[in-house]
Symmetry: C2
Subunit: 419 residues, 2 copies
């Protein structure tokens, strides 16, 4: 099939009619497929089942800094778990706090802490939101009534010219959300230059914070993984360690919702967070921390574990991008990323067509993330970005879902072109 832009209206109408036939056939099958959220599939969950049996009757519940992990205490988490995350993040253990089951919750609590202790009573606040981005980051920002300013993503990370200009000029801009490695949804890893420019920011707001959500820090899906500069190494060179909070979790390493989350921060920032955590809780689930420590033994153990996830995910991501290439490759109606890791493939359809594609898919039984969800306030200005999540559905369903998706992308484009 040639590029749609080279076809005349008659040919486009014929093509649309043909595709509508395909579409009706799919619809008639009464399918129920889901490519909406970045949830691991069953095969991935099975990989970690032995974690559940990592505490045995022989387990010694005493660790280097905890007399009994079954009892109260230890707000920062047990030393062994802090060390595991320190190795993962490339920071010192003293800069790590291990929390509950959700890094999202730690980010929420961090923003709440900043609002209550630092940012409050300064009038209208703003946050920079590289987009497309993670809808739940935008949700937290909106919950706290912080105005969101969209910053376009480029192939090397957020548009840093814009970031530098905005933060240096406007002291009401208090932070920026970043998924620096295998970004959600595009799978872009920030270039070394981007990380260095982040670490060298000179914000007008002295209380500006980078929310560095390293959710996919070791989540490769290809044999040519990306590498990311260590933000804290770069910040240290500039004496700006207080400018960032970093987050990660084992949600997509062991079990979503039953994993362990952690944050890294400077000593000043940890002291600031503890102003709140000291009142919020006595401590997080140390037995689940110990379970993870016993199971993985070391960070090398975590890395070996991630190879098993990669073995499950690599063919899925390949299938998604191969299908896009085969079905849409030379039509001139869509672009997409081919990420080396993360949980998503980001597809840009023709301007004004994303909502239509999602609606068409839904009618044919394929659920996608809502169009616009990847932008602040759920509003994609071009109505073009769609986030595809290849991890959750069974492989055969994924293949069908992708075929339907491509048919819908073509129909939406043709509808626009023949108007």
């Amino acid at each position: 099939m040639p590029n749609y832009s080279s076809m005349d209206k008659n040919a486009l109408c014929k093509e649309l009619e043909k595709l509508q036939g395909y579409y009706e056939n799919y619809k008639a099958q009464g399918l129920s497929l889901n490519m909406a959220r970045g949830k691991p599939g069953s095969a991935q969950l099975d990989i970690s089942n032995d974690l559940l049996y990592a505490l045995t009757p022989e387990t010694n519940f005493k660790t280097s800094d905890c007399p009994d992990c079954r009892n109260y205490g230890g707000l920062e988490g047990i030393a062994e778990a802090r060390q595991l995350f320190a190795d993962m993040l490339g920071v010192d253990m003293k800069n790590v706090m291990v929390g509950g089951n959700s890094s999202l919750n730690m980010m929420f609590d961090t923003i709440a802490c900043m609002m209550e202790n630092v940012w409050g009573n300064q009038g209208k606040l703003k946050f920079l939101c590289p987009a497309p981005g993670y809808d739940r980051h935008f949700g937290i920002t909106q919950y706290f009534n912080i105005e969101m300013i969209t910053v376009p993503m480029t192939s090397t990370g957020p548009d840093m010219d814009m970031v530098e200009k905005l933060v240096s000029e406007d002291s009401s801009i208090k932070g920026i959300w970043c998924v620096p490695k295998y970004s959600n949804p595009q799978g872009i890893t920030y270039s070394d230059e981007t990380v260095r420019r982040f670490a060298a920011l000179k914000p007008a707001a002295k209380d500006f914070r980078i929310m560095w959500d390293n959710a996919y820090i070791i989540h490769d899906v290809s044999d040519t993984p990306d590498t990311l500069l260590n933000i804290f190494d770069e910040l240290k060179k500039n004496g700006k360690e207080d400018m960032a909070f970093e987050f990660c979790s084992t949600s997509k390493i062991t079990f979503p919702g039953a994993g362990v989350a952690a944050l890294a921060a400077s000593e000043n920032n940890l002291a600031l967070l503890k102003k709140r955590y000291n009142f919020q809780t006595i401590g997080y689930d140390k037995l689940n921390m110990l379970r993870h420590v016993n199971y993985f033994k070391s960070f090398d153990g975590v890395l070996a574990h991630m190879q098993k996830h990669k073995a499950v995910l690599q063919p899925r991501f390949n299938m998604v991008t191969d299908t896009l290439e085969r079905e849409l490759g030379n039509l001139g109606i869509a672009q997409w990323t081919k990420p080396n890791g993360g949980y998503f493939v980001s597809v840009d359809v023709m301007d004004g067509c994303a909502k239509r594609v999602v609606a068409l898919c839904k009618e044919a039984g394929v659920v996608l993330t809502g169009a616009g969800a990847t932008y602040p306030y759920g509003k994609d200005p071009k109505d073009s970005n769609i986030r595809v999540a290849p991890t959750y559905p069974p492989v055969d369903e994924l293949e069908t879902a992708m075929n339907i998706f491509c048919v819908c992308v073509k129909i939406a484009a043709l509808e626009k072109l023949v108007k």
Copy 2:
């Protein structure tokens, strides 16, 4: 030994000298004993070890409302866990949300939610704090800059005349902290009349909330357990279900810090909380919920389990109150409670002597909860209340610690009397 008030100064001085001799002997032993916090002891923790093996390779991770507990989702918790807590609290499952490992954290989040969505922007806020009470309740209140008003405790609960008068007159009073059963630290259970008066409150503030922390709901330490009226049953009779949040957890049923917490609330209040929880997290640890459900099977299973805790705790509480009776019984220098449950024995020493007793104990190697901690702002107006926590130290250490404690109570009283 006769009542100190019947002794002349000379006899008192002689008695003080004798006790100082005992005290120096204790000090010379270089002890390190702790009766400070309500932590279960090792024998209690051992009771629940099998919980850790309640998920097996044969476990089906599917529950009635969750396709796979290992994956994301289910903000309210799994149905089976909600039902278990519903049975415990005597409410409908639809009114229960199961959270993470800490009911304190759920209370903190509830206050935060009320501040952000309901109470905010109303100027100075106030909370009623029955005292002596739980220091961490007061800590949350202080963190959110809510003024605390002390309400005296009586043998049937808070002084309800005062509570009714204050809440009906002052719309800036937004709530009250209650530990209605086996209160912390006195072990007092609110009388039926007290509960009914709570349920019939007519607060000037339409957004007034009772924080009903039912931490010791099934935590008996005697053969004559107390009973508590169901607050939601009483509230319903008055059409006031929105006036209370109730909290509980398995922290002192299974493992502190690795248990499961829950709250009960009206549908309106749950909807209000979800305004925040929806942004805060994707969901809590469902595998730990499933672990608890599998382990206990039913609420009857929980009750049977609590008998094992009682068998450990009953002799400890008896030893504490027996020692107090034997050493201080007729001296006229202290009163204490003999609770049927909970985690504490509350001792009122002579006015102005609590800090001195705690300091004397500390010097002799016995750590107690800081004097004043049981009052708002850490200030006991009479400097007389001391919270004794008999659960954590080994039994022989507890006996020594109590003997030292009684010597210190006597010394502090004599120091005051001979002045």
